[in-house]
């Protein structure tokens, strides 16, 4: 039963089976390798505009995806590549979209920040900070309206959590008992602004209480903790009790976008997170301790690299959209 008064008490840690740990490792590695490649392709000019990498935050979306069911919908901001891969969208289509090619998931017309998949229940990919909160609540409204038992899960940053529309959505979601999990991915920075420079109450989960929404703070570098908290939150929503708020403490290793002055935090801080809290390394260490061989882990890495290499090949060899596409899809 969710804890309605003090979400600060530690969430339970889900015990993951070996298979679950292996699949979490694989899913997180896919995101990391994909994002590393995206960063490189940006440097080569294949990807342009804004490109926000998810490196460091992989355990958040992977842990939540492990707790969600087929049919539950995900919505997020512009830092969306990881969410799409976790939802099972084809890495080729995602990479080709980053490159602005016709085989891209949005036919090359959306770009890094704007991708969607009706088939995989991924509702974007939104460039406007704060937008995922009401959109996620609206999807939950449709679920409740139809009574289909689906849960809408919507992600946004701790910087976005200051936008007014977030609180308008909290209130309506609680009032109408909408099945939506609001997930604040607190990676401590909004561009160059540390959370304490933009937010008076830095414990974001506490904002649930003002709206009668149960809330919890979670270690987002530990996929087990994310999974456990998400299990609890999603179950709460699915059983018709209304929304749930998770504040997931995480960290982005890279710059906000590709352009980043990198002066608002120290290199040591980034190094320390990488060395001591890396979400992927934590799983690797546990798997090795449980007797999984280095070889087996290397194989996983190789299989992931192969998927990413194929995505890059597809994206770089694909053609640009046909010029006639300029005028399609404007209205239905």
């Amino acid at each position: 039963m969710a804890n309605e008064t003090d979400g600060a008490q530690p969430a339970p840690i889900a015990e993951l089976s070996r298979e679950q740990e292996l699949s979490a490792l694989r899913d997180m590695l896919l995101i990391r390798r994909f994002e590393e490649k995206a960063g490189q392709l940006y440097g080569m000019g294949v990807i342009a505009g804004f490109c926000h990498l998810y490196i460091g935050q992989e355990a958040v979306v992977v842990g939540v995806r492990m707790a969600s069911r087929e049919g539950d919908q995900f919505t997020t901001s512009y830092r969306d590549h990881g969410h799409m891969l976790a939802m099972g969208m084809d890495p080729k289509g995602v990479m080709a979209e980053l490159a602005g090619k016709r085989g891209g998931i949005s036919k090359g017309k959306g770009g890094s920040m704007h991708m969607f998949s009706r088939e995989k229940n991924f509702f974007g990919g939104h460039g406007i900070v704060g937008a995922p909160a009401p959109i996620g609540a609206g999807i939950a409204f449709a679920n409740a309206y139809r009574g289909d038992g689906r849960v809408s899960i919507t992600f946004f940053g701790e910087g976005a959590a200051n936008q007014g529309q977030v609180y308008e959505s909290f209130n309506i979601a609680a009032l109408w008992r909408l099945p939506v999990v609001f997930i604040i991915e607190n990676n401590r920075y909004a561009m160059g602004t540390a959370i304490n420079r933009a937010t008076a109450q830095t414990e974001c989960f506490r904002r649930g209480a003002a709206f009668a929404i149960p809330a919890r703070q979670v270690d987002g570098m530990d996929v087990r903790a994310v999974k456990a908290a998400a299990d609890e939150a999603i179950e709460w929503c699915r059983s018709g009790k209304g929304p749930y708020l998770l504040e997931v403490l995480t960290y982005r290793y890279r710059g906000h976008s590709m352009s980043d002055p990198a002066k608002y935090r120290s290199k040591e801080e980034v190094e320390r997170m990488r060395e001591e809290h890396d979400p992927i390394e934590q799983v690797r260490i546990r798997l090795l301790a449980a007797g999984v061989s280095e070889d087996e882990l290397k194989k996983i890495d190789a299989s992931v690299r192969k998927i990413v290499a194929e995505a890059v090949d597809f994206a770089t060899s694909d053609r640009e959209p046909d010029p006639s596409e300029l005028y399609t899809d404007v209205v239905a």
């Binding site: 000019g45 804004f50 090619k101 910087g159 160059g192 352009s259 990198a262 608002y264 010029p323 300029l326």
Partner: protein, 459 residues
């Protein structure tokens, strides 16, 4: 197989940067994720990472090199054990700064972003002919305008996202925090609706806020306060309450940033009575207009352009250079056809005028500078002389600024027209991301030339 490491682009509009330093030496082994170099622009730094395992076989551009064009090969990573000397022969020649087509040869995968010529800025009539001119970027000119007004009037302050410690997302507020302190240069949370409203309240109470929107795309969150609170209050209060506030920031398309980040609000805001709307095309106008905007007792929407921020223009070295509000500038005199535009649209208009001149067509080019109040008298005067008019903007065609120009010209100079007014606008679609589609979606010099020839019945 060896791979070339290319000079990356840090931002959508970066063309050159400094290769600050190498963190690895030739011969060092590198693995995925290792930082091998640092690059810099005036805006940002970025770490260049190796993504594959291998050996840093050759460094092609030494640390400390300025002005390295995007996509220049800067190093070669060879597979471990590969013969680095064998690599040399397969390399493209290293490119030198200023070698303009080198980016083309080096870009094995993508075409470089289309380059636009800086709009030349013939001296505005307001500038005395004996004044010294100082070249500076539009970014610097805007910063200087704010700094000068902040020195002059202690009620002027700046607020917005990342305007202080970060020095501005596009570095327009660079140095202001250092000079004026945190009481007058305020970093806000990401809360456009809230801080726009707070700015309006402060203006009602007699301060002179400059509210920066990181880009005007995000002003849509705040448009209610711009229109309902700032624009209408003087009227609703029977002339008692003024809103001396400036809303400024980058407007319109940048490069490859997609539909939600590429919107032009010129037509939106310039339709609102009570607002002043400015959209400068060059550094000098930007400075003189922004100073006028800050001094105005009316709310001003000041539309800048990210692509123009880095363009250099001559700015008069005057103690106090303030331009009149609502006065257009004849950017090029001519007799055959009138081209009217503003902001980045001037880039196409002026380039088209050059093209047309090659065919013996002398275009008069008018830079509106202020969209509201619009200097329709200058347009009409020119059209009476030329009998033909082409209006150009990057925004959407329906209800666009150019639609307004066409309406005014036919209302006030119908009898002088030898052809219907032609318009060149952004296409009637959300901005696509793909490079080829984005190019098609934006106006081009060729379209302006074609429109001018059409109204002249020439081919």
């Amino acid at each position: 197989m060896s791979i070339n490491v290319l000079m990356p682009a840090l931002s959508p509009t970066m063309e050159h940067g400094k290769l600050a330093k190498w963190l690895k030496n030739e011969g060092d082994k590198v693995k995925s994720g290792d930082v091998i170099a640092e690059i810099e622009t005036d805006k940002a730094t970025m770490e260049v990472e190796a993504v594959d395992e291998g050996v840093l076989a050759r460094i092609l551009v030494p640390g400390g090199t300025e002005n390295v064009a995007v996509n220049t090969p800067i190093a070669v990573i060879a597979e471990d054990g590969e013969d680095a000397t064998a690599i040399e022969s397969t390399l493209p020649p290293p490119k030198l700064p200023g070698d303009s087509d080198a980016a083309q040869t080096a870009a094995s995968v993508a075409a470089p972003a289309p380059k636009q010529a800086a709009a030349p800025a013939p001296r505005a009539p307001e500038i005395p002919s004996d004044v010294t001119m100082i070249p500076m970027t539009m970014r610097e000119a805007l910063r200087d305008a704010m700094a000068e007004e902040m020195r002059r009037d202690s009620g002027v302050f700046v607020m917005g996202e990342e305007v202080g410690e970060y020095q501005g997302a596009y570095k327009v507020t660079q140095g202001l925090l250092q000079e004026f302190g945190a009481q007058r240069v305020l970093d806000t949370p990401i809360t456009e609706y809230g801080f726009a409203g707070i700015g309006v309240g402060a203006a009602f109470a007699g301060l002179r806020p400059i509210v920066e929107f990181m880009t005007f795309n995000f002003s849509m969150q705040a448009i209610d306060h711009i229109v309902n609170s700032a624009a209408k209050t003087l009227y609703m209060s029977g002339g008692q309450i003024h809103s001396p506030i400036v809303f400024r920031g980058a407007n319109g398309a940048a490069a490859r940033v997609g539909a939600q980040h590429s919107q032009d609000f010129s037509a939106w805001y310039s339709s609102v009575p009570g607002l002043i709307v400015m959209a400068p095309s060059n550094a000098s106008d930007a400075k003189g207009l922004l100073k006028a905007a800050i001094r105005s007792d009316n709310p001003v929407v000041f539309l800048e352009n990210e692509i123009l921020y880095g363009k250099t223009g001559d700015v008069p070295a005057l103690e106090d250079f303030v331009l009149p509000i609502g006065k257009a500038r004849i950017a090029r005199a001519g007799t055959d056809v009138t081209l009217v535009s503003f902001s980045i649209g001037m880039t196409y208009a002026l380039a088209a005028a050059e093209e047309l001149a090659k065919d013996g067509i002398e275009a008069e080019v008018i830079d509106l500078r202020t969209l509201r109040p619009m200097d329709t008298a200058s347009i009409i005067e020119s059209v009476k002389k030329t009998g033909r008019c082409v209006a150009i903007e990057e925004g959407w065609p329906q209800n666009g600024v150019t639609a307004q120009i066409a309406a005014v010209v036919q209302e006030e100079a119908f009898d002088y027209l030898d052809a219907p007014v032609a318009r060149v606008t952004g296409k009637d679609v959300p901005m696509p991301y793909a490079a080829n589609l984005e190019k098609l979606a934006l106006p081009s010099t060729a379209e302006v030339v074609a429109a001018a020839k059409a109204v002249l019945y020439r081919t």
